[in-house]
Symmetry: C2
Subunit: 268 residues, 2 copies
């Protein structure tokens, strides 16, 4: 899965990445889904271990264009972990209270504690994406945010938080199909917002903004992964595999009690 | 499932309830589990509808003795709903900041917003359970809390929150088996706390405290259900069925767009 990791030393160009590709996996869709299911079980076991050990914190950042599959990824990858094992923090348009603070304020309050997994559905990266594309703040303000974000994430990492960031990369054509599917199904129509089409018109601006994000903020302590996401099963596979590998590298252990388990008798 | 609902007009005695019973269901364990899986799917569909409609709020309160199965219930019943569809609020021993406020303060901040499902894993009821049993506050303080809680929940209900409360009722013998199972498995041992045995000694006091809770705070706007919980599949079945029935009674509808879906064309 390292093939998807953005190296700080080599600039990436999103247009050159095949959003329908499945590099590193030879199986078909059914084999991919079966593998995701096994990885979801493994992730569940690792979450249990992480909670039991109570030392590590895991922060997963999900970013994507509209219809890019953030919700679906959470559903598949964390299917076996459950609500008690992982929490989603959604960052929508900021409230007036949030806007009254710096842009990292609302984000900081949601980072994981010991033993916790938190998934950011959108994140502080919106403050250099939608905010930049729509010029909600002047250029000199958003330009210095890359360094601010790197410093913030570095602090989190140095204090014990493992950070993994995914950009779910779909093509413009795939988005068209997904938006049309929403319009076609009466029970999905509520997800469609005519305003989404305005954002779609700015596709090129968003790709430029994402490229800057990926090239400026993929660090050794908080790497970005660009996930080819037109095929949902492959998207889920990359995210699940990356998280399992990341957690396995932490060398976690179940804590040993400081009392002798055989000495304890539960009275009737 | 109405058989498990605590009527405000008829006092219940916990000792008279068979914790191994499966009233209202004729099938065996396998049939029960299959039904829970179907109900979990239905609950997922209802959550989608609830979020889409954006009007209702659902608050689920789970209370139980230690090992009573609160975590397992969340895992089974909300298995298909996912982290985005339902959130768990855990209420552990209060922090010093929480203790500096009234006991409903930390609880109020976690209640669901429109379209949201929130599950309370423990709740404000601990303030008339553990707090009463251990006399953390004088009797005159905890005694007036039943009325305070009823008034608080009535306000929530009148403002649009549906409240359903479950007491997962296990026997003292079943707890012994579950504690012993935790001790026996190395990967489960961390869940065992020698202090749990001290609470177990107070079983009778807890049952008295639970009976008062059930008899004083099962209201038309926030009913309690006593769930026979020695059999995990039956426990899950009662909770899932009750939630599905409750949500189906709300008569929710997918919102209709105020624009004509056929008039919208997604540009290339």
């Amino acid at each position: 899965m390292k093939t998807h990791r953005v190296s700080p030393s080599r600039k990436i160009r999103l247009a050159k990445i095949d959003t329908t590709g499945t590099p590193g996996f030879k199986g078909d869709k059914a084999a991919g889904e079966a593998r995701v299911a096994r990885l979801a079980d493994r992730l569940n076991a690792l979450q249990d271990l992480m909670f039991a050990e109570g030392k590590q914190r895991l922060l997963v950042v999900l970013q994507a264009m509209d219809t890019g599959g953030k919700d679906g990824t959470v559903r598949s990858v964390f299917a076996r972990v459950g609500q008690q094992g992982a929490r989603v923090a959604n960052f929508k348009a900021p409230t007036s209270t949030e806007l009254a603070h710096d842009y990292l304020w609302r984000v900081h309050s949601e980072v994981p504690g010991r033993g916790e997994i938190v998934i950011f559905n959108r994140s502080h990266y919106e403050d250099v994406l939608v905010v930049r594309v729509h010029e909600f703040v002047p250029k000199e303000v958003w330009r210095r945010r890359y360094d601010q974000i790197n410093a913030f994430e570095r602090m989190l990492a140095e204090e014990g938080t493992t950070i993994v960031k995914f950009f779910l990369h779909i093509s413009r054509e795939e988005q068209k199909e997904r938006l049309e599917a929403r319009l076609a199904e009466p029970d999905k129509r509520w997800k469609f917002n005519p305003g989404d089409l305005k954002e779609r018109e700015r596709w090129g601006d968003y790709m430029t903004a994402y490229e800057d994000v990926l090239n400026k903020t993929s660090t050794p302590w908080a790497p970005w992964y660009v996930v080819p996401a037109d095929r949902k099963w492959y998207r889920d596979l990359v995210v699940a595999e990356t998280l399992v590998e990341t957690l396995e590298r932490l060398g976690m252990k179940y804590p040993q009690p400081d009392w002798d388990p055989t000495s304890i008798k539960v009275p009737a």
